[in-house]
Symmetry: C2
Subunit: 204 residues, 2 copies
Amino acid sequence: MKLYDGGRAPNPRRVRIFCAEKNIPLPDIIPIDLNKGEHKSLDFGALNPALQVPVLVLDDGTPLSETMAICRYLEALYPQPPLFGAGAKDVAIIEMWNRRSELGLYTALQHVFRHSHPGMAELEKPQLPDWAEANRPRAIRQLHILNEQLAQHRFLTGDAFTVADITAGIATDFLKVARIAIPEDCTHLMRWHAELRARPSWSA
Amino acid sequence: MKLYDGGRAPNPRRVRIFCAEKNIPLPDIIPIDLNKGEHKSLDFGALNPALQVPVLVLDDGTPLSETMAICRYLEALYPQPPLFGAGAKDVAIIEMWNRRSELGLYTALQHVFRHSHPGMAELEKPQLPDWAEANRPRAIRQLHILNEQLAQHRFLTGDAFTVADITAGIATDFLKVARIAIPEDCTHLMRWHAELRARPSWSA
C-alpha cells in the first residue's frame, strides 16, 4: 500500500496516529507538498477528485480517499485494538462523538482559520471574515460540549482511547492555527488534551 | 426504541429510508416540529447538545444522535442487507462515497440554502449571501463527480444499493430546496436519481 501524505496537516496526521495506536506498520509514504499545491495537480485529481490528502492506494491499485474511509479499511485489516469500537452500542457512541468532533468542532475551526488567517487570503477565495466570526462561537460551544463529556470520562467515549479521541484531539491541536484559546473553564478538556499529547502516537 | 423525528427534513428521512431498505420496523416515532423550533428546547438539548434531529433513544435510555451513528447502530442490530458493505475494501469504498456525498455535496447545498433562501433569513444569522455563492460552484462540481461515477455503475459504489446512495440521493433531492438544477450533461445522475425515487423506501 502507498499513502499520499501531507505532513503536519490534520487529516494526514489522523491516519498516522491511527496507525501508531494500532501498531500498524505505515504504508509506503509519498509526501505531497501542500504549500506547493501538489494536491491540486491533474495527476492527484485522478486519485482523489476532492483534491485532498491523505489518499491510500491499495495493493490492487484502488485509490481510497477520505480519512475515515482509510482508517476503517485499516481497522478491518488490523482489528486490534478496536478504535472504532466493538458491539452495536459502543460502535454507535464512538461514531456519534467522532462526528461531533469532526462536523461540529473541526469543521467550525477550519472555517475560522480559512476565512480569517492572512496566510489563507490567496488560497480561500472569497475569504469571508464574517463567516469566520460566525463559526468562532460555534467552535467554542463545541469545546464546552466536549469538556462536559470529558468531566465524566477519561477519554471521549469512556475508559478506552478511540478514533473519536484522535479526531477531537487533532481538532483541539488545530485551535492554535485558528488562533482560539481553550476557554479557561474547560479544565477537563485541558487535562485530556495534555494526556493525548503525551502519547507516543501523537508525534507520528 | 424511540425516534425523535423531523418529518421531511433530510437527516430524519435518511434514517427512515435506511429502515425501509432493511425492512426494519420503525422505532416509536416522536415527531419534532422543526418549524416551531422544538429541537431548540432545553429538553431536546439534553438529548442532543447539537440541537439536531434525528435522535434515537435506545431501550436503556441512551440518546444516540448523528444520523450515521443511528444507522450504524441499526446495521449492527439488523445486518442484512449490509448497507455499509461487507469486507474491508467494500466498507471503505462505501464510506468514501458516503462522505463525499455528505461532506462534499450535501454540506455545500446546505450552505447555499441557509445563506441564500429568504425563508432562512431569520434562522441563519448572519445570513451571508457571499457564502452561499461560494458554495454553489462547489455543489455543482460534486454533481459532476457523482455523475462520472454513476456513468460506470448502476449505484454509487457498484451493483448494490448502499447507504452512500441514500446520502447522495437525499442530497440530490435537496437541490430543489437549494434552487439548483441538475446540470443538463449529468445524465447518469438523472438516471440514477429517477431510479432511487421509484424505490418504495424513498417515500418513507
